[in-house]
């Protein structure tokens, strides 16, 4: 038997689908060609909203008319997807996107005008049906979670937090060595009681477990969350809700490499492919606590670079104030650095260029051969939310040292160091990037 909250969600979703489809049928019975009016889900129509500090869908609208030869199939697919989701909702099912792919995939066989028998599939690969799901989310302006579509559970959480999930009440401070796996429908969770001062999101599952066993969250009044790599939608929505509803600051702890920085930016501003969901998934107040390049190297490297007038000028143009940042000392000694630091690969460099643009790389990279390797990215200007003085300094150091570092390395220096010095100290002095 589905829980009350589950049933209510189902009925709401059924109504949303029914209402929008009813208007289509009305068009049809008036003899008009049916049209789906859908916000455009293209890169060009993805914009960074400076005020809200998140990636949002732009104002462009697409009219998907059934009688348009180029749109007819997509139109059919959208309605087909709506009908299978509708059917699943009515039957108290929880399909995954893979289930939906299989349920909707069948062949349409027909006789052409020249009498040939032809057969085509409603869709071929899951990539196609996944795209249709996104279209439908945008069209209905609901998230798939609201349609009770499940995905793999990836995120975990522990801390002084009591929730209601389904008909059960769960105390997340009593999970033993385990943790609560964030359900794919975080909007159905009810927060009953919270006793914490902030949320700490750890990119790496292993570090999450170490901090959990160490008793970090109890000692420092934190809700400890891990996304176990790239955050899924449920984890992002969970963090966003919890931070919104209890006014808890969110700190992200990720690897010190362009991937880690990007994971942070997905939490904070949203992702490009799912920009239509940012309003509900992004947490614009999230802060990057570490690991920073300056935590590893301090800022001496950077100071040396901006001694050069031209370099300084270029960087100031990109991020005004970058040369006036507070000086920073490293957390690692020379020998620790040489033990823990990993050499950056070309792919990391390319990714970094995507974040802050080519000019920063051009100024900060010393090695000519390395520079040649990323020549093809010339012209990229980076994402607006990365062109801040702090990020410019971080990535400049990255380009100059060609180094990266995993959080695990910080734990290797000693779990005690990570839990009792690194994190609390940075939090207390406010050493984060916003």
């Amino acid at each position: 038997m589905p829980s009350q909250i589950d049933l209510a969600a189902r009925n709401k979703a059924l109504d949303i689908i029914k209402n929008s489809m009813r208007s289509l049928v009305e068009q049809i019975s008036r003899g008009e060609k049916p049209i789906l009016v859908i916000p455009k889900r293209t890169l060009a129509n993805t914009i960074y909203d400076l005020r809200k500090k998140m990636l949002l869908l732009g104002p462009e609208i697409q009219h998907r008319s059934f009688t348009d030869v180029n749109e007819a199939k997509k139109f059919m697919q959208t309605l087909l997807m709506a009908s299978i989701i509708f059917d699943a909702l009515r039957n108290n099912e929880y399909p995954t996107i893979r289930d939906l792919y299989y349920r909707g995939k069948h062949s349409i066989s027909y006789k052409t005008i020249d009498g040939k028998h032809v057969s085509e599939n409603t869709w071929e690969e899951q990539r196609e049906s996944d795209g249709v799901i996104r279209d439908l989310e945008v069209y209905l302006s609901v998230l798939r979670e609201d349609l009770l579509i499940l995905s793999k559970e990836k995120g975990k959480v522990v801390g002084n937090l009591v929730i209601r999930s389904g008909d059960d009440t769960i105390d997340l401070s009593k999970m033993g060595h385990g943790a609560y796996a964030i359900e794919p429908t975080p909007d159905l969770i009810e927060f009953v009681d919270v006793d914490a001062e902030y949320i700490l999101v750890v990119e790496k599952d292993a570090v999450f477990q170490q901090l959990h066993r160490y008793g970090f969250w109890r000692k420092y009044k934190a809700i400890l969350v891990t996304s176990a790599g790239q955050p899924d939608r449920a984890t992002r929505r969970f963090v966003r809700r919890l931070s919104d509803e209890y006014k808890l600051p969110v700190y992200i702890l990720a690897d010190s490499d362009p991937y880690g920085y990007y994971i942070y930016s997905v939490f904070k501003t949203g992702s490009i492919t799912l920009s239509y969901e940012s309003e509900r998934l992004a947490t614009p107040s999230a802060k990057f606590i570490g690991v920073m390049m300056t935590d590893i190297f301090g800022d001496s490297v950077f100071r040396k670079i901006i001694k050069d007038k031209d370099a300084r000028k270029t960087l100031e143009e990109i991020a005004p104030g970058v040369s006036e940042l507070k000086p920073k000392n490293p957390y690692l000694s020379e020998s620790e650095r040489s033990n823990f630091v990993i050499k950056a690969k070309t792919k990391d460099l390319e990714r970094a260029v995507e974040l802050v643009g080519y000019k920063v790389a051009d100024v900060c990279i010393e090695d000519k051969d390395v520079k040649n390797k990323i020549k093809k990215k010339e012209g990229l200007t980076g994402y607006p939310w990365f062109s801040t003085p702090e990020w410019t300094r971080e990535l400049c150091i990255f380009f100059n040292t060609l180094s990266k570092l995993e959080i695990e390395a910080m734990a290797s220096k000693g779990l005690k160091f990570l839990a009792d010095k690194y994190i609390p100290e940075k939090l207390s002095i406010g050493d984060w990037i916003d």
Binding site: I17, K18, M21, R22, L24, V25, I28, S29, G31, E32, K33, P34, F66, T67, D68, V69, A72, K73, F75, M76, L79, L80, A82, S83, F86, D87, I108, S109, Y110, K111, T112, I113, E120, T122
Partner: protein, 530 residues
């Protein structure tokens, strides 16, 4: 050195053609049998359609000897028949004809049937048999005759007559010749097929030696208007004609003679011409000197204010007849024809007619259309490469511009009719390149091909519309099902689904301009598979 002694003598026309029969198309036994059938059939047709009679022509070919390759060819028609006193000369005197008048006909030299008789005489030795009667005659006449080659005179071997029991008119001609039927057969069949295309108003039957019946029934009841005998046009004449005119006339003055002997020649015109020639209009025709006649003919030829030659002597097929013939022959997807307005060259009137057939069973032209050439309703089967019609098709028309790319199922039929077809050489198989004619042929082909282009581009558009409709229609059932699943209860689901299907069918039909039935068909085919 003794000089060779030259011997001088004259031969009769009969003797000449007897010796040089290949000039008239009797080069070998295969060609001979084909030519025999042609000459007899064309005489039969001249005796019918030229006189407004819908032709009924029956051709019988049968083996006439057990051991030798002798064939008896008999052609029967329902034509005007021949007066009995004329028959011996018509069949036994070379260069005797009733067609030396200015009027479009197939025969024109008075040679054809005599060549057949001569060829029979020299290969099998058998005489020609003629049975004939005219409408209104009470008797049917019968002749058996041969030709005295040296004298160019008929020799009647047998003649007789019997009473008519019904009002039959027509002619039956029968000859026995040596021939190679097996090699001639395909050509003969081709000849009949081509003839039938321009003669859908004729009944043509052929019985082959193998007892096969080849039958082209009459499929239209209209006939081309018969040609009317006309006087020559002053520009189409010559000094020789003028000479014989002034010698044999009863007219008292040259002015009168001119006015009554030529078309487009009124009093004013005649006076002006005579003035230019320096001849008093009152002069007696027979008293004009050779020099005066020469300046007269020159004046007649250079005068440039005549009305163009009358086309009344011509008998064009007409557009409907050409289309009917092409339709029967090829069952084409598209057919059209045009009869150009009369035109003239050197004082001879002519009309060009062009037919076009595309698709269906139309034969494929590999790098140019298949060309069917006709002169005065006779199909031209040989010497295609040197014909002006072929040249126009190959050189003057850019087929690409008409949306035609080869290979293509395309036939172009060109019919030239004239009181004087400008044949190349004596073979009468290819038409010479006369600028006025070439231009008309080109314009005619362009005219019908433009029509085809319009048809093709419309077809392409329709095809596109149908493709578009198909690309949408195939999703109607799935869309309807999806909407019905969402909006209807279990028991109303099918009703709603069907309602949406029928609505969408109408919407798509309206949007694409394609017929409802077509979209129904696609939708149904999906329903059937599901």
């Amino acid at each position: 050195m003794s000089e060779l002694k030259e011997v001088y003598r004259a031969v009769s026309p009969a003797e000449f053609f007897y010796k040089y029969r290949e000039i008239a198309g009797f080069a070998n036994p295969a060609r001979a049998i084909y030519q025999t059938i042609r000459e007899l059939v064309e005489n039969a047709l001249d005796a019918t359609d030229v006189h407004g009679i819908p032709p009924d022509v029956k051709i019988t070919i049968r083996k006439a000897d057990e051991t030798q390759d002798f064939y008896q060819v008999t052609v029967e028609d329902n034509g005007i028949g021949i007066p009995p006193n004329i028959v011996p000369n018509a069949f036994g005197k070379v260069l005797f004809s009733s067609k030396y008048v200015l009027r479009q006909s197939r025969g024109m030299y008075g040679l054809g049937v005599k060549m057949v008789v001569l060829y029979a005489q020299m290969t099998t030795g058998r005489p020609v048999e003629v049975i004939t009667s005219k409408s209104g005659y009470k008797r049917i006449y019968y002749f058996k005759l041969r030709i005295d080659v040296n004298k160019n005179e008929p020799v009647v071997i047998e003649a007789g007559s019997w009473r008519k029991t019904r009002d039959w008119h027509g002619t039956i001609v029968s000859v026995t010749i040596e021939g190679d039927w097996s090699r001639a057969k395909s050509r003969v069949l081709e000849y009949l097929h081509r003839t039938a295309i321009v003669l859908p108003y004729a009944n043509i039957v052929m019985l082959t030696p193998e007892n096969e019946i080849v039958y082209y029934p009459r499929i239209v009841n209209t006939m081309p208007r018969p040609p009317v005998e006309t006087r020559p046009h002053p520009q189409g004449t010559d000094l020789e004609f003028l000479n014989s005119l002034v010698k044999n006339t009863d007219f008292k003055t040259i002015e009168e003679l001119l006015i009554h002997s030529f078309q487009s020649m009124g009093e004013v015109t005649a006076k002006q011409i005579l003035q230019v020639a320096g001849i008093n209009p009152e002069r007696k025709p027979s008293e004009l000197s050779d020099n005066e006649l020469l300046s007269l003919i020159n004046a007649m030829k250079t005068y440039d204010k005549y009305k163009p030659p009358s086309s009344r002597a011509l008998s064009p097929l007409g557009e409907e007849i050409i289309k009917a013939g092409l339709r029967r022959a090829f069952n084409p997807e598209y057919v059209d024809a045009v009869s150009r307005r009369p035109s003239a060259y050197s004082g001879h009137p002519f009309v060009v007619e062009v037919g076009i057939a595309y698709g269906g069973n139309t034969p494929i032209g590999e790098d140019k259309p298949i060309v069917l050439r006709y002169a005065n309703k006779i199909p031209l089967l040989y010497d295609e490469a040197t014909d002006v019609i072929t040249e126009v098709v190959k050189e003057d028309i850019s087929w690409d511009n008409y949306m035609i790319s080869f290979p293509s199922p395309l036939v172009i039929l060109v019919h030239v009719c004239s009181t004087k077809i400008p044949f190349k050489g004596v073979g009468k198989e290819s038409i010479a390149d006369i600028p006025e004619l070439r231009k008309e042929i080109k314009l005619g082909i362009m005219e019908v091909t433009r029509g085809l282009k319009q048809y093709l581009s419309k077809k392409v558009k329709e095809e596109e519309a149908r493709r578009k409709a198909e690309a949408v229609a195939k999703y109607i059932p799935e869309v309807a099902r999806s909407l019905a699943v969402i909006l209807a209860d279990e028991n109303e689901l099918n009703t709603l689904r069907k309602e949406i299907i029928s609505k969408l069918t109408t919407i798509v039909a309206k949007k694409t301009g394609v017929s409802l039935d077509l979209i129904h068909g696609i939708v149904k085919s999906i329903e059937a598979e599901a």
